[in-house]
């Protein structure tokens, strides 16, 4: 009787309708497209093939994918290196100060990333502020050509994605109880040992979550490579975009995007497994 109320039915219909139409169906379409053949006039023709996947292992594309993952990986490591101590220090600040400083991390997180990429370009271009600063300091004699390089793409990705690393790390450091550190000190562990045996394992879920939040979007951000990288430093996102919008080879673009989705799913599953593994000792303690 309660389940038959018209309002409830209308709500469920609306939600299911939206999710099926705009999430499930489009994703299935992409999967289907990746097995079809390219057609110049109608985008695709109904001819089943595995060609698109075979073309993905073409050395040219493999090179682009490898380079793309390499840049994303370096970005992730940089973010971790800078973000880990930062999140730790932030979590140990006075409670009155914390909300404001945390807000200052969130602001760039929510502002237009294209605008921030452009701001980065402004900063590191040949006549940009960074070069002027280095010249004034006398560290260099001629302006550096930083733009349109691998380093520029990594710098752009790092700049855009750093908050994605800091926020999950901050969350785990907030939960880390200082008594645990005191306990390990009392038991005679040195600084390094306390860190590797207590802090690192307890903050591992944050490290993994942050790394995924940086690594996964990084390979797709085609505009960062467009604005900062020039023609040689492409991301997987650039390949997919050019297949869909320029070359009009939808099936191949769909196959590349599916590869990206599968890689993402594997990483997320690995995350899920590792978090479960870390949580297990707690569960045991509760049962005991």
């Amino acid at each position: 009787m309660r389940g038959r109320e018209p309002f409830r039915i209308a709500v469920l219909l609306l939600i299911w309708g939206w999710i099926v139409l705009f999430v499930l169906l489009p994703n299935l379409l992409v999967v289907a497209t990746s097995f079809l053949t390219r057609d110049d006039s109608r985008f695709i023709s109904w001819q089943l093939t595995l060609d698109n996947y075979l073309r993905l292992v073409d050395p040219d594309y493999l090179g682009v994918f490898g380079h793309s993952f390499y840049m994303a990986l370096v970005t992730t490591l940089l973010c971790l290196l800078v973000g880990y101590p930062f999140a730790y220090l932030l979590s140990r600040l006075r409670p009155s100060l914390k909300p404001y400083l945390l807000f200052l991390v969130i602001v760039p997180f929510w502002t237009n990333s294209l605008v921030r990429t452009y701001a980065m370009k402004l900063l590191i271009s040949v006549n940009g502020l960074l070069n002027k600063l280095l010249l004034t300091l006398g560290w260099i004699d001629t302006p550096l050509r930083m733009l349109y390089s691998e380093g520029a793409v990594i710098a752009g990705l790092f700049y855009i994605l750093l908050p994605f690393m800091i926020l999950p790390l901050y969350a785990v450091f907030e939960q880390l109880r200082p008594e645990l550190l005191e306990a390990s000190r009392d038991l005679g562990a040195g600084r390094w040992r306390s860190f590797t045996r207590v802090v690192l394992p307890l903050t591992l879920p944050g490290i993994i979550a942050g790394s995924l939040l940086v690594l996964l979007p990084a390979v797709g951000m085609f505009y960062v490579a467009d604005v900062l990288g020039g023609a040689k430093n492409l991301l997987i996102g650039n390949v997919i975009k050019s297949q869909f919008l320029d070359a009009r080879d939808w099936p191949f673009g769909a196959a590349a995007s599916l590869l990206l989705t599968v890689a993402m799913a594997v990483l997320l599953y690995a995350y899920y497994l590792s978090v479960n593994m870390i949580r297990r000792p707690d569960n045991d303690a509760e049962l005991a």
Binding site: V11, L104, T111, V115, D226, A254, S257
Partner: protein, 259 residues
């Protein structure tokens, strides 16, 4: 000494986060035509923007799109959060999973899947396709915001309304909505910012008839650095900042009271 190191490091990272934005804002007031030489303070580029009717049109389109997408996603997202919180129904886990997929999948994957749908169904690329796409990627964020607020809400109040004979719709409208209204506003503002900030999805589902600012900036930025872009980007930056400050204010000021 250690304290000095601590605050020094924190400041350095903040400098890293804000220096490029600061430089951008500063240069947008640069009187000189040379984008790299400081020629004194001036509103010149903002005036140029104001005179550029194509840009004003694009800005109006952007606002129209962001407001519509935020409103629609708040409406659907709120209903979804209520359903997930209160109703038992088949496939709830699946629905949850789908929302998670939208949130986690790279923008570009979402973009091409929606483009494929619009082409197949025959939706003309323009305002409608942009709106549907923006609502879809805003949805999970609204759901999370509203769901969090609903979780801190005592169900007895709803039971009371029901015992007094209110229908489900009336109960939602007169009891539930007023209580969760700060979360609705916060969700709306988050949707507004997300829509304003999107480049990737818009790039794919846009049509020639409806130009929006982020894509306009994209095409200008690819070609090089022009002083107008600085002013335009600054305007967009301040718009998102205003929406963000508003949503944070609402979320922290009106945190749910748990008795």
């Amino acid at each position: 000494m250690l304290n000095w190191l601590k605050y020094g490091y924190l400041s350095l990272v903040y400098l890293l986060l804000y220096l490029p934005i600061g430089v951008l804002l500063l240069y947008s007031f640069n009187a000189s035509k040379n984008p790299y030489r400081w020629g004194g303070f001036s509103w010149h580029w903002y005036e140029r923007l104001w005179q550029n009717t194509a840009l004003i049109d694009a800005a109006a389109n952007t606002l129209l799109l962001a407001i519509s997408a935020a409103t629609l996603s708040t409406l659907i997202g709120t209903l979804t959060a209520i359903a997930l919180q209160r109703y038992r129904f088949r496939g709830k886990r699946f629905l949850n999973g789908m929302l998670f997929v939208v949130m986690m999948s790279p923008d570009i994957v979402l973009a091409i899947s929606l483009l494929a749908l619009f082409i197949l169904v025959g939706v003309q690329l323009g305002f409608l396709s942009l709106l549907l796409a923006h609502v879809t990627f805003c949805l999970p964020f609204v759901v999370i915001t509203v769901y969090a607020r609903l979780s801190g809400f005592t169900p007895q109040i709803l039971e009371a309304a029901r015992d007094l004979g209110a229908s489900e719709f009336r109960m939602v409208r007169t009891v539930l909505l007023p209580v969760i209204s700060p979360a609705l506003l916060a969700g709306w503002l988050l949707g507004f910012t997300l829509s304003l900030d999107d480049v990737v999805v818009s790039m794919f589902v846009t049509g020639p008839t409806f130009e929006i600012l982020p894509l306009r900036i994209y095409s200008m930025v690819r070609l090089g650095i022009k002083p107008e872009v600085n002013a335009l980007a600054s305007v967009l930056l301040l718009l998102s900042l205003a929406a963000l400050v508003g949503s944070q204010y609402l979320l922290t000021r009106n945190a749910p009271h748990t008795p």
